[in-house]
Subunit: 186 residues, 2 copies
DNA sequence: ATCAACAAATTGAATATTCATTCGGTTTTC
DNA sequence: GAAAACCGAATGAATATTCAATTTGTTGAT
């Protein structure tokens, strides 16, 4: 692994464990086995490292979410997507916590958020299609997106905080609740 | 308003606007029209002010949420509760943002969270009753609590970030989605 | 009422620490 | 032998906290 990558990973780990402002560059340097100066060879400043981590994770969203969707009914595709995101978080708890507690304003600017919107355009399209084809409620797609993300985050929070172990059954419950919230009532 | 109160309010305002670590005690002192030393007369340290703000808001939850519940069916009571919390956030955007981006670990410890659990015991009871009486799904109450809170937060985020104006209709949608997610299917 | 004596509140300059960033020099790479 | 990567001590700015000194408030005796 090259030094730039080591710096990014180390920063991610430390910042999730200790918080951004409790993580001095000197510590990042030490734990990444790199000199402080080297960090500034690759990055303008501390915040730029954070921005790169953010963009890295958002990019993941775009590909992870839509991976291996079954060629079945809409609900099954939704469930696959939901689980894709959930499992991504389970497999990358650092990414989850980073997005939860580090990737917030003013650290991450509105501008950067807009810049990363293109990565999740396909997810938006998925829900727009669902509305058109009458699978899900005809409400603003932005509302759907936010609520669905909120559901995955809620499930993940319980797991991270060890308040539920999120076994098969509990996961099924969460997924069912999420689907019920968006599915069209007839 | 006494000085202690002024210090708390000023800290809340600044910390929401600038972030915790971008808010020096000297600035809090100046904007609260108080000397730095006075702050340390009332508080042990910076973090203790944050903890007091946190407890203040959690205490609000307990009373605000259960206020003026209609003496009608369970669903109506749920909607009233949901709107109580939503409107509390709308009326206290500082409280909302504080809980969202400041009241996170490691600033707020697990211990403090446990300490504040008693304030929301009645909310928990409300959902337990709903499960018993077959109004809502028979799933772990902790899951319900987290998902419902997540729904309100999602709605509020959209409003705060100005992505939806959250007019009557949009609010109705969000509330409907939230209820559908927990209501029992027959 | 007046005042002495004490306690509580208030002040802000001084302290000590922490930390992001710089930069002159060294090593590695091609 | 030039360019790129790398080093880490030195710099300078920021800031949480302390504390000795001052002001304000309270109490009870005269």
């Amino acid at each position: 692994m090259d030094k730039k990558q080591r710096i990014i990973i180390t920063m991610l780990e430390l910042v999730v464990k200790q918080g951004l402002h409790a993580t001095p560059m000197s510590q990042v340097a030490k734990e990444a086995n790199v000199a402080v100066g080297t960090i500034y060879h690759y990055f303008e400043n501390k915040n730029q490292i954070i921005e790169e981590i953010y963009l890295m994770i958002v990019q993941d969203y775009g590909v992870v979410l839509m991976a291996n969707l079954p060629d079945k009914d809409y609900k099954s595709q939704y469930e696959a997507m939901w689980l894709n995101l959930y499992n991504y978080f389970v497999g990358n708890p650092l990414a989850f916590t980073f997005m939860e507690i580090v990737a917030v304003p003013p650290i991450i600017t509105k501008n950067l958020v807009r810049l990363s919107a293109k990565h999740i355009a396909n997810i938006r399209d998925f829900f727009l299609k669902g509305i058109e084809e009458n699978h899900i409620k005809d409400v603003p797609v932005r509302l759907i997106l936010q609520m669905v993300l909120g559901d995955v985050v809620s499930a993940m929070r319980l797991k991270i905080k060890d308040e539920l172990d999120m076994n098969k059954e509990q996961l099924k419950f969460a997924l069912e609740m999420s689907w019920d919230s968006i599915k069209k009532n007839n």
